[in-house]
């Protein structure tokens, strides 16, 4: 018996937009998260995620059912976000940007929200220094736990190029972090030294 997702895909391939809406419902979060991490603010992420689903709806007949549907969607989202970043002349910084996070079951206190926002800002600032493709590599590696071969398939890279980009991105982010937070870096170095002694 077919699982519901395969059935929705088959129906969507026959032009049923209601069936595709179920797929949108299921995959909205991973697609939105990728767009958000790539573009850095929720307005652009919403537009990019919507555009990803529209493009995938129009090209679903070309989708190969031997591939994972999620990977196919992420590939469209990643390439679209990379294009958007390349077109962008000026970086957009939205300080009041607070999309819905998944953590709290209970209502978060103001401190939690501030800390959450600060963490997001720090992550955004780190990802901002990266080249669009390197940024996509980092996001797909750390937020989706995808293996190298799947990320290389999504971004049309060889595995060695992917590893090299990942290494370069990690080094650049670590250097940026050290420059931006010299006190914390110093403190941690001292802790490290004490522990080794």
């Amino acid at each position: 018996m077919q699982d519901p997702e395969t059935s929705w895909i088959l129906q969507a391939q026959q032009g049923n937009s209601d069936a595709f809406a179920y797929l949108v419902e299921k995959y909205q979060r991973p697609v939105f998260n990728l767009c958000y991490r790539m573009l850095g603010n929720s307005e652009d992420a919403e537009d990019a995620a919507q555009e990803t689903f529209l493009r995938s709806y129009h090209s679903i007949r070309r989708y190969d059912r031997n591939r994972s549907f999620g990977t196919w969607l992420l590939s469209i989202a990643a390439h679209y976000s990379i294009d958007q970043l390349r077109r962008r002349r000026y970086p957009i910084v939205s300080l009041d940007d607070l999309p819905v996070s998944d953590i709290p079951e209970k209502a978060p206190g103001i401190e939690d929200r501030l800390s959450d926002k600060e963490t997001r800002e720090r992550i955004r600032a780190l990802l901002d220094i990266l080249d669009p493709v390197d940024r996509a590599v980092v996001v797909l590696y750390y937020w989706y736990d995808l293996p190298y071969d799947e990320i290389s398939e999504i971004l049309s890279l060889t595995i060695s190029a992917l590893k090299s980009r990942l290494h370069r991105a990690r080094r650049a982010m670590a250097a940026e972090w050290g420059n931006k937070n010299p006190e914390i870096a110093q403190q941690e170095r001292m802790q490290h030294e004490t522990s080794t002694i």
Binding site: S17, Q50, V100, I123, G178
Partner: protein
């Protein structure tokens, strides 16, 4: 000071073997730069791992359906503009062609006028034929109506009613707003 292969080891995903780990620890004791990179990278990795997936605001699927409808409307709009443009283009071409063909006739306009009147005569004859045909049809219909029994009247009425219902249902299905999944 040489920082390779220590930098590679700092950013590696794979656990190091004990000899390499020892070499890295020894290097970190003396190299402030690599120490800084390692502590920064550990911190960043921690933040990445702790940061959850962000989800969109509620109603994403509904917004997508509205976008799809809007896109379809725009495509229909564009297609009708293309169709209209094609027709206008065709009409302009025909008018230009006619103007080109009728240019020699304009040298003698009175001849063109009488020729047009002459060409209208067959149309008047066609009109007479149509009138005769319509009178014949009316006579035939009135005659057949008196011949039709009451048994035929009800099936014809029923068919007309069924066709009306079918037409109305189709129209409703075509014009109704699409279902939206919450």
């Amino acid at each position: 000071m040489k920082h390779q292969p220590f930098e590679n080891w700092i950013f590696s995903d794979q656990p190091l073997d004990p000899t390499d780990q020892q070499a890295l620890d020894d290097h970190l004791k003396s190299c402030e730069s690599c120490q800084g990179l390692q502590s920064s990278w550990n911190r960043i990795r921690g933040e990445f791992t702790a940061s959850p997936m962000i989800k969109p605001t509620a109603g994403f699927t509904k917004r997508w359906e509205l976008h799809l409808e809007e896109q379809r409307r725009q495509i229909r709009h564009r297609q009708s503009f293309v169709f209209l443009g094609f027709n206008i283009g065709a009409v302009v071409m025909i008018v230009l062609l006619m103007a080109l063909l009728s240019t020699p006739m304009l040298r003698a306009p009175n001849l063109v006028f009488w020729a047009s009147i002459y060409r209208l005569l067959p149309i008047a004859q066609v009109w007479d034929i149509l009138q005769d045909l319509s009178i014949a049809l009316i006579i035939l219909f009135e005659g057949s109506w008196s011949v039709l029994s009451l048994l035929w009247f009800f099936p014809i009425l029923g068919s007309i009613f069924a066709l009306s219902v079918f037409w109305f249902t189709s129209l409703r299905r075509l014009t109704s707003i699409r279902k939206v999944i919450e």
